[in-house]
Amino acid sequence: MDTLLVILIDGIVYSSWLFIVAAGLTLVYGVMKILNMAHGSLYAIGAYSAASMVGWYFTNGYVPWASYLVFLAAAILAGAFAGLLIERGLLRVMYGRDEVVMILVTYGVLLILEDVIKLLWGVEAYFAYQPYSLVGRTKLLGITFANYDFVLIAAAVVIGAMLWAGLNRTIQGKLLRAVIHDRDISMAMGINVKRTFFVTFVLGSALGALAGGLTAPALSVVPGIGIEVGILAFAVVVIGGLGSVGGAAVGALMVGIARAIAVHTYPQVELFVIYGVMAMVLVVRPQGLFVSTVARKI
């Protein structure tokens, strides 16, 4: 029983992290139909920015509690800035290309960003562990959990809620949803789709970087941390249904809990879990869980 609960907790913690990583990706896909392979690199940029900010902050001995604001802000700003550069400098001239070509475009961005990160931060590891232990730990079910992991769950809920409210309760969000639903009609209705794209990509990039920033305290920030994360986020988004934020949440939960079960019961299969779940979901529901097929009218 305890093990079951531990599996649930572990699963939810991991899912929260996955969701935060995947949220930006699915948003960008939903609006722009771009499956951003460089999302992982934005995650890495966020992690690096946060880690260097934490390092600076604690060396100077400021109030520890305020560090959260500082490093998360650093991650978001860095992500937004990178997103801005990518959108303005590159994607803008590529709009209208085939979806698969856009994947390749972002793959090119990924290759470039990996080296840019290396040039900016070097290959030495960066650490930002102070905020991780700052919130303490809790004893639960006979084992210890880091409270920061619960913060992660809260962060996922907040981000999810904000995205939901943003999309459903604001004018801007409704315009976004209109674009998600039908880009051509939206354009015909006078929605400035280009601007929408710009805002979405910057927002998505900032979200990706925020995910990196939030994770940085638990990591050794080294080159290449983004690549695996990127492909993981892919899987989550495909499982949930491309472009659906709710889907990303459910996809994250499925993968997270499946992984926790594997780790606690049969660790050897951990490697397969994600792709296994992805293949199974796609076999049963080719469009992902939360996207319905539209029959073409003839």
Binding site: D184, R296, K297, I298
Partner: protein
């Protein structure tokens, strides 16, 4: 005359909406049938069911006495029923000739070759002959994406006819075509159909066209057939006058919004 297509109690509903209810239609050999009815009356649903694009909720479809209910479009095509579309369904990046060649290659009884060139002189001659049957041979080398609507419609029909079907279903052959070109287009099509000896059924909003080409008219209203008979008679049916003709005679609106999909 012997019947080739017969539908019995054909019904289609989408959830609570009934798009077609109890459709009983018989089409005889070499007949030219016009189908009329306002938008949403069930005309296209009827064609979609017969050609296998939609599965009927109830009823059966017999083609030359054989039950083809639930056949897939390609099975229906193989049995000898072909159709055209409201929005011409073509291969936009290929040329007109290539479209025709693909149609011939696919509809021929042989398997698709993996080594024999599709553009052999024989195949090209056949395809060019088919194109000239619809008076579009001069567009042979133009990519389809650059063709005017009328030519696309003709190519669409020419491709459907490539197998020499027994029955041709034309879904609004003149929609999206300029008024002054409509008769020319219909002349070309009907001549070709007559040459091939196939029966045909066409959905049309323009009553002038219906009365000029159809020998028989079926009128749909709200998923039902409200009249079925020789053209004169059907068009003068009071119900038809009230629900369709009266409102249709001055209605020339082509369904342009559909073109966005092409």
């Amino acid at each position: 005359m012997s019947s080739i297509l017969e539908t019995k109690g054909l019904t289609k509903s989408f959830g609570a909406i009934t798009a077609a209810a109890n459709i009983n239609v018989t089409i005889n050999e070499k007949e030219i049938v016009g189908v009329i009815g306002s938008n949403g009356a069930g005309k296209t649903t009827f064609i979609n069911m017969v050609t296998g694009y939609l599965k009927p909720t109830g009823g059966s479809i017999l083609f030359r006495g054989r039950d083809i209910t639930g056949f897939s479009p390609r099975q229906v095509t193989r049995t000898g029923i072909c159709r055209s579309f409201q929005v011409a369904q073509l291969f936009p990046e290929l040329t007109t000739l290539e479209n025709m060649l693909v149609a011939h290659a696919m509809l021929s009884k042989k398997r698709l070759g993996m080594q024999a060139p599709m553009k052999s002189q024989t195949n090209i001659d056949t395809a060019m002959a088919a194109l000239s049957g619809y008076e579009i041979e001069s567009y042979a080398d133009a990519p389809v994406a650059t063709l005017p609507q009328g030519i696309r419609k003709l190519l669409d029909i020419a491709m459907a006819m490539a197998s020499g079907p027994d029955l041709l279903l034309l879904d609004e052959p003149t929609s999206g075509v300029a008024i002054e070109e409509k008769f020319g287009l219909m002349d070309t099509v009907m001549e070709a159909v007559k040459r091939s000896g196939a029966a045909s059924l066409f959905v049309e909003h323009d009553m002038e066209i219906v009365s000029r080409y159809a020998t028989r008219v079926i009128a749909f209203y709200d998923g039902h057939i409200i009249a079925d008979g020789p053209t004169e008679e059907a068009l003068n049916n009071p119900e038809v006058r009230e629900y369709i003709v009266g409102s249709e005679l001055h209605l020339q609106k082509p369904e342009d919004d559909q073109n966005a999909e092409n």
